[in-house]
């Protein structure tokens, strides 16, 4: 199945209009035409089918709701210190495919990059949920300081922070969360220079458990992928 995305605000009672980017994709890349049946999601749990009734100026369909799902109650969050844009893009794409549903991007002390380009990451998430046939778009939030992240990270059951020298590794974390599918999880991974030791201490004071995400030295996005995989593999 091919899945497309329409913003909830563009889904009226019977008709949906796609934005220019999605319209282009439907017509050019997928070679769909007036009269063709397509499937799409609103990114908040609904799957629709629709027949294309107009191609211009943007694609419009007459739609039917196929099914509606409740958002899984467990938050699966990655908090990441800023890294090179291309590496961050890739991480967001992969982690979305693997089921991460909240990204918290932190301008932490040793981060050499920063950005507030949420639109770009939302576009990447849209592509990734279409690819993996997921019906929920992840949330993305940017924090300008580590302290603000700690103040506003919300209520999660289990909170981990990556620290290379921590005694617990991925196996211990997986064993610890086994059978807790409804628990919310948050993994925080520092930028290339890692978190500062004060940041780790502050996190510990806020209930985070330090964990090392691998025996070898991993890049930020690789360590974050290990965390995403732990989220993905938990049973």
């Amino acid at each position: 199945m091919e899945l497309y995305y329409a913003e909830p605000g563009n889904i009226a009672s019977e008709e949906t209009e796609f934005d220019a980017f999605e319209s282009q994709h439907i017509l050019r890349a997928r070679r769909k035409h007036r009269g063709d049946l397509i499937h799409f999601t609103d990114g908040i749990g609904r799957l629709y089918s629709g027949t294309i009734i107009r191609e211009k100026p943007v694609v419009a369909v007459k739609h039917k709701l196929v099914r509606s799902s409740e958002r899984h109650p467990a938050i699966a969050a990655l908090a990441i210190g800023f890294i090179k844009p291309q590496r961050l893009d890739f991480l967001i794409e992969k982690a979305t495919e693997l089921g991460v549903n909240r990204f918290m991007l932190i301008n932490s002390r040793f981060a050499n990059y920063s950005s507030t380009n949420t639109d770009r990451w939302i576009k990447i998430c849209r592509q990734a949920i279409k690819q993996s046939l997921r019906l929920f778009l992840p949330e993305i939030k940017v924090f300008d300081h580590f302290e603000n992240f700690l103040l506003e990270h919300g209520t999660v059951d289990e909170k981990y922070i990556a620290e290379q020298s921590a005694p617990a590794g991925p196996a211990e974390v997986m064993a610890g969360i086994s059978g807790m599918r409804n628990h919310s999880l948050l993994f925080a991974v520092g930028p290339e220079g890692g978190f500062a030791s004060e940041e780790i201490d502050q996190a510990r004071d806020n209930g985070f458990t330090p964990v090392n995400l691998g025996d070898f030295r991993l890049r930020t996005e690789t360590a974050a992928l290990v965390a995403a995989m732990i989220i993905n593999l938990r049973s």
Copy 2:
């Protein structure tokens, strides 16, 4: 620690010369000079330290062997149908960081890309072992047909092939290989179109177990990363 790489052929009894790429990296990116101490590996298990004695035409050091490790007897192999070059590059980098030590790139039936640019991937592997402080460079082999891959994939203890409809998932695979740290593993993941059903059948006839690498539809490199993570997390 910063780790550099020198080809075994360039390591004489007391002196080592780095190639132009590595010399550039040592001098320009890391701002090292004559007299500075650096560490490097030959990618076949040896860690050296050396003092820079020349900067031109390439960096040369007078070296000492720090330690020599035996290659882990267990092959950890990923066999991958060809995908877009940028996505393959990223996968090779991440999988090397995670401990994959053999890449088998297959021009399988539904692959839309192909390449024999082994030099490029070796360069990526070099960067990844330096990053993750590993002392062994993975092996890379290209197969022009799936049949040739089956004929020449060598002796491995456990062989898996990704198939979306297979009943066994990552949790079953992890349980199955638990405690078998010395068993060689091979995961085969098809290109974007997946493996052809004849290819899956041939693999099954050759002792491969079909496995689905996720409940949702994953891109090739994401599924292969799940396999790499299973290899990384096995205990």
